[in-house]
Symmetry: C6
Subunit: 339 residues, 6 copies
């Protein structure tokens, strides 16, 4: 793959985003526990949706990647390697490793299935008469964040492929008699404006969490947004430097929570309260329970606790249930604190 | 066919699925008698549908397969071999045989007819100017399980092809003047969410059995689901090991029932009760009678009996009739035990 | 044409089909007089439609075919030969002839026009730079039976092509400046489930006869169906052997009727009664009269008579008129014996 | 163009068609004066529409055609020759000429624009790297009859192309930078069943004449139809021989009328009566007047007269006006003799 | 570009068209001032629309064209030359010039964008591996008349391209990285039958003038139409000769008006009356004013005047305003003389 | 890229446009601050929309461009260079630089995504077997103006691509495994006629400013339009010369404002008044605030002020809010001065 990117521009710092606490929390939880299956961000245009996602990479610990590995598999864990990389690893070859930031891969609305999944490398096929895989966006997104703006406008087949990969952690390229699988573990973040059509329920359910965002509604907050934006546009580097300390603090907190999360425990009482919530709301299936538990554990880890509390479940429910209910009036049932 | 799969991940054990007895029973019956023409699983998202199907392979006796045979035909039965394999067999060539698990082939929603049926091998055609068949998913599924998630979203032509092959046990590749037939006997399992559109009656009728699944509705069961899932995600191998004994027991029981099934008898009284059920419910055609008889025999075999009992018919009816009725109110007619 | 079929499976015997007398009669009449323009079988799913058609070939006298003739033309009648075969015949070349069963060619719903009509042989074109015809399904069906399951779901263009060939007895391949005609005389049998959309009147009219089938409605008959089916599935060869004598008897009767049919006479009174039926029912055009006469003659031949009787016309009318009427209430006019 | 037709089958004789006088008259008029722009035959299925058109060729004087001229241009009239033929003619080359029947070219419903108009000869392009025209059906139809069954189901673009050629007498092939014109003068005959959708007014207007046909409605006529059809099917050659004399007589009469037609005169009174008819009926434009005059002259020639009579106009009006009226109730205005 | 046209047929003389004064006037005005942006002719089928347009070329002074210039640019004005022609001109090369009639290029309804705009020359690309432009219909129409029959049925993209070229006088071919511009100044004439769908307002506005035509409504005129048509069809050359003098007179008058037009003056009172008309009728934008002024000047030139009169404005308004109004009742406002 | 343009025609001077002050102001503001994200011009056909945009280039200071750089990057700022240009720059190569006018690139309605974004250079791929980028319209528009007439008729995918590039200042070409990014900073100007369908809200929001234009409604102004247009058409060069001084004055004023703009300050009171406006009108998100601030600063700079005044905000609001409101009655809320 030829890759001739321009030098990456400085992104707006995550910590400088004014308000939008639920949005930021849902992203952080997915970073703490990537098995949460992503976030769907629903809401009006012109809020900080894209900014928050693009800034996310700066909060994550760097990862080790093999130098020549287009699938970015973990160079220390052969089970997650792409087949040819693994072969060389197991043959005892020492592969150069470098440490780098987690990638935020943006999936354009017009992306074809070929571009997402990967395809045959035409150049090699024509010149050398030999089949070679051309990895797609799912390869680039492995161990990173896959961001789809306006996910509801995406071609249905592409959405299916995305969510299948997100669920299985594997992407399979099947073209012209080749079947090739590679790891594709990523945090999926989608945004959508519900005014322009919804996702079908089957697909909604595959997003772990869902938040609703809207513009800030006090003049003070809005002025702060404009001031920071203006400062950022004027001199991005200087602005980022100004927020560097706060960014570093958040990054450290995330790293601590990532370590703690697998050890968080949930009592049976907690588990029962989760099941009862799903039953009361009449959500389909069991995915809501599993997601609520994972989100609650991530919240506990984020809060520095080793055990899930009822408040963690309460907060997890506001992120995991809304998009899975068959009935509408969400606030009626959960009460005002759910809003 | 180049095939570079990653090492197969451990699947969730069939026996560890909480509840969903009808779903599990319908799958086991098809495994006992593959001529039952598959199962259609209708129901809400997030239930154990996919998990159950993927786990099915572990319950089946291993099969012998010829080393280089993409059609996985039985190396001991020339009548079921693909033409070229058979030719070599009949020429007295000793073909290497290996024993392996039955395969669960997943058919992606976006699969084209070419991918399903098979096509010409472009590489050979271009380089050697000679036509060679590129087997499709129906070849991979021979003697195994073909699983289609969201079968109601599949392209109509592909569904037709699938059901034709399932009914005839043969797949025919016709491209560029080549006509090539190979055995394609498989257990077809489809899932669908009826909220997203139904299958046309013609296609519904081709599925032998049909079950409806929904989420479990007691907190206790739901907690159990979440606990097991969490345990599995934490350490799949350890979890599978925990259930290994129960899995082995079920596998043995299946093997016994497979042996017994062809010997099960049905009295004329049983046959008349089957015919009367179909007539009373006004189902179209005779497929319901034939399927009910087969299902009842498989149930008897599963129950360790050599004769079909009225209770076997009763249970078979709940699996074979619902999707074939022109009228809706199923429970009204069969009574409460049908639910 | 490369052709690598598996050994043909044993088919369910025609004589073992329970009930469905009109269906069987209409097929036999077309076999006796192939100029009847085929049968359209309308009715519910899961009846013996496909079984009856596939079994038909066993009732027909074998035919002589030239060894290397993809058009299966009569090796004794140069007028019906494909052009190149005829050329060699007329040049005095002795062509090897073999006698074989009439073929039942199934036309899959997804068949393209190319596959049906025939096309250019790409292989020859690319390698030898010379145009060669690749015969289609209409070539395979010459002098045989062409069977289209769910004909109402077929692409309109393909239906047009089919019915044109059926009417003219000739198929013309026109591709890339080649125009090539070959004989295509076949008995066309179509099935359809009227619930899934109808044929347009123009096409309905092109089928000579039309029957409506439904499932049997006495438990005794249904049990018989299931018993025979089970016996057949258990051991097809043994089952066929059981019915071999009855099959042979029917085959002989068909052969006799084929010989007698061209000699059957119809009086003017008979002809007038036919014309009056069409006028009374308000059918469009004259095809109904012609078909009724042919069907009545075939019925007479089948009944061993040399003259058409009013009862033959009565029975022919039930097969030839229903699908050609502009008004619905058929039974009202023809009376109870028409059902 | 490779052309490997089977020996042409004997067609049903025009003179043996029972009834359908308007249909036969309209075809004869177009044969007498090909500038009448064809006939549109509307009516129910199963009438003698196709039979009449196919039989038409036998009524026409044979034409002289250059041996190797795919455009069938007149070998005596350089102005109508295709460019390359003309070049050779003007260079003084003596081209072999043969006399043959006028062709009835059938345009299949599924014909693409390429097939109708002509295209590039791929073979020559690939092998010799030189562009050569591959003539289409319009070339085959030059100086003959072009027959389109179910013209209302034809692709709109193809209809446009057809009618443009019919109006201009020229067909232009434009592909890949080649622009090639050849003569395309033909009598266009279309049939349609109005139940299956109409032509748009613009296209209706381009057909010179229009007749409505329906099945015969006396038993005697119907019996005659069936008798003749049966006799024809039994032995086409013998049947044609039986009608040979009558056919010859009609052919002679047509030849005489063709000679007389250009000399027929119409008085001013006749012309005014034509104009008044169009005005009274509110037809669009002037094409109706011109067609009525031409049809009336052809009728006079057919009747052996040198002057158009009011009765000729009356009859011409029944053929030329019905399909051009904006208002429906045709019979009301023209009176009973128009039916 | 290979070009093998048949010898051009004689066209019906413009001066022999009966009535249709507005149609003829609008065409003449565009010929006098080609910057009028063409005419849209709306009206019923079978009127003299096509005839008038095709005859137009005979009224125009011949133009000088470079021998080998597919863009027909003016060989005396380098600024209007196609780039390569200009290069050779400026290098002092003497290019052969010939004088010929203005061309009427007909754009078929089925024309693709490639054919209209021009494309790559495949032949040169394949054989010489070098990109060469294949000029389209817009190149052929340069300095001539571009005629689109049924413009409302044209593909929207093609209409856009046409009107852009008409407005800018330039056509740009952009294919495979080539961007090539050539002059494309032509008088655009479109016809349409409003019964078959309208143009969108944006496109309507781009036609300078618009006239509505209908069939003549006195028997005398209609008879004259038929007589002349018959005479023309019988012997086109003789008919044209009969009208040659009148044609020559009109041609001279046009030539004089073309010379006079640029010198015609309009007083401020005239300009104000134009602006007030547009305001009163509520037309969108300013194009109506500009077109009215140009049309009025052309009318003055045609009338032999050096100054625009109120009557010229009156007449120009009937041609320039009708298709630009948002409100319908045109005659109400302009009064009876507008009809 | 082969590029063979005709010599550029003289454009109508910006300063000679009569009226349309809001349109002209919005364009000037974008020129002063290109980060304003363009203008959407809504309004009736035939107003000066296109003229104003095309004339805009003459108001802008010339830019330095590298001689052989298809991306027109700034030859003095390596960060904005296309990768290969940058490589040579950083290798110390001295690249020839020329100063030229800013480009107005028109994007045709029929532009494909390939043409807009860029694609592979087929010629190089085929001949040299090496992949080379073929830059698209977004490369041509870099550092210039991109003009889309009838933006509401553009293909949705193309609009998405445009607005993404406009927002990020970067265009990425992804084809056949190549991923190539280049700077694409441009002022986007779109026009649309709301009668022919609107943009979806998501896209509307991406245009910084929006103005509504209609035809002038006093006869005096309209006469002036026509007079100037006539003068321009008669002799474009002379007309432009007549307005040269005024053009130069405007150009100088623009240059001064461009320098001043980055230094303009806005007090907190100003910022709060901006936020309150958005809240009061219920616009979605924060983009309206940011755009209002930028527009107000550009207005201050244009007015020669160093601080934003309430009047600047007032005027900015009329340009930035109308297309972002969920509710319609704009004038009701802002009062008469907003019209």
């Amino acid at each position: 793959m030829v890759n001739t990117d321009m030098s990456t521009p400085t992104v707006y710092p995550f910590v400088a985003i004014v308000g939008q606490e639920k949005l930021k929390k849902s992203l952080i939880l997915n970073v703490i526990n990537p098995s949460l299956s992503g976030v769907l961000i629903r809401g009006e245009k012109g809020t900080a949706k894209s900014t928050a996602v693009r800034a996310l990479a700066d909060l994550l610990p760097e990862i080790d990647v093999g130098e020549a590995d287009p699938f970015q598999s973990d160079p220390h864990d052969p089970k997650t390697m792409a087949p040819d990389v693994r072969e060389r690893f197991e043959a005892g070859e020492t592969l150069p490793v470098r440490s780098r930031k987690v990638r935020v891969v943006e999936l354009p609305i017009s992306a074809t299935e070929d571009r997402v999944v990967g395809t045959l490398d035409l150049e090699t096929a024509l010149k050398e008469g030999r089949k070679k895989i051309e990895p797609g966006l799912l390869a680039s997104a492995n161990r990173g964040i896959l961001y789809v703006d306006e996910v509801n406008l995406l071609d249905d087949h592409v959405v299916d492929v995305l969510l299948d990969s997100a669920a299985m952690g594997v992407n399979t390229i099947e073209r012209e008699g080749i079947s090739f699988s590679h790891p594709a573990r990523f945090t999926l973040v989608g945004t959508m404006n519900p005014e322009e059509g919804d996702l079908r329920p089957q697909l909604l359910d595959r997003f772990g969490l869902c938040v609703h965002v809207e513009g800030l509604n006090t003049p003070g907050e809005r002025v702060e947004v404009v001031k920071r934006r203006a400062a950022f546009e004027e001199d991005p580097e200087a602005f980022a430097a100004q927020w560097a300390e706060e960014t570093a603090k958040l990054k450290d907190a995330v790293a601590v929570a990532i370590q703690r999360c697998p050890k968080v425990q949930a009592s049976d009482a907690i588990l029962f309260s989760i099941a009862e919530r799903s039953l009361k709301l009449g959500v389909d299936g069991h995915r809501s329970d599993i997601v609520m538990l994972k989100a609650a554990k991530a919240l506990a880890a984020w809060g520095g606790r080793d055990d899930v509390t009822p408040a963690d479940v309460e907060e997890a429910a506001t992120l995991a249930l809304a998009h899975r209910m068959r009935r509408r009036p969400f606030e009626d049932i959960l009460g005002p604190q759910a809003a």
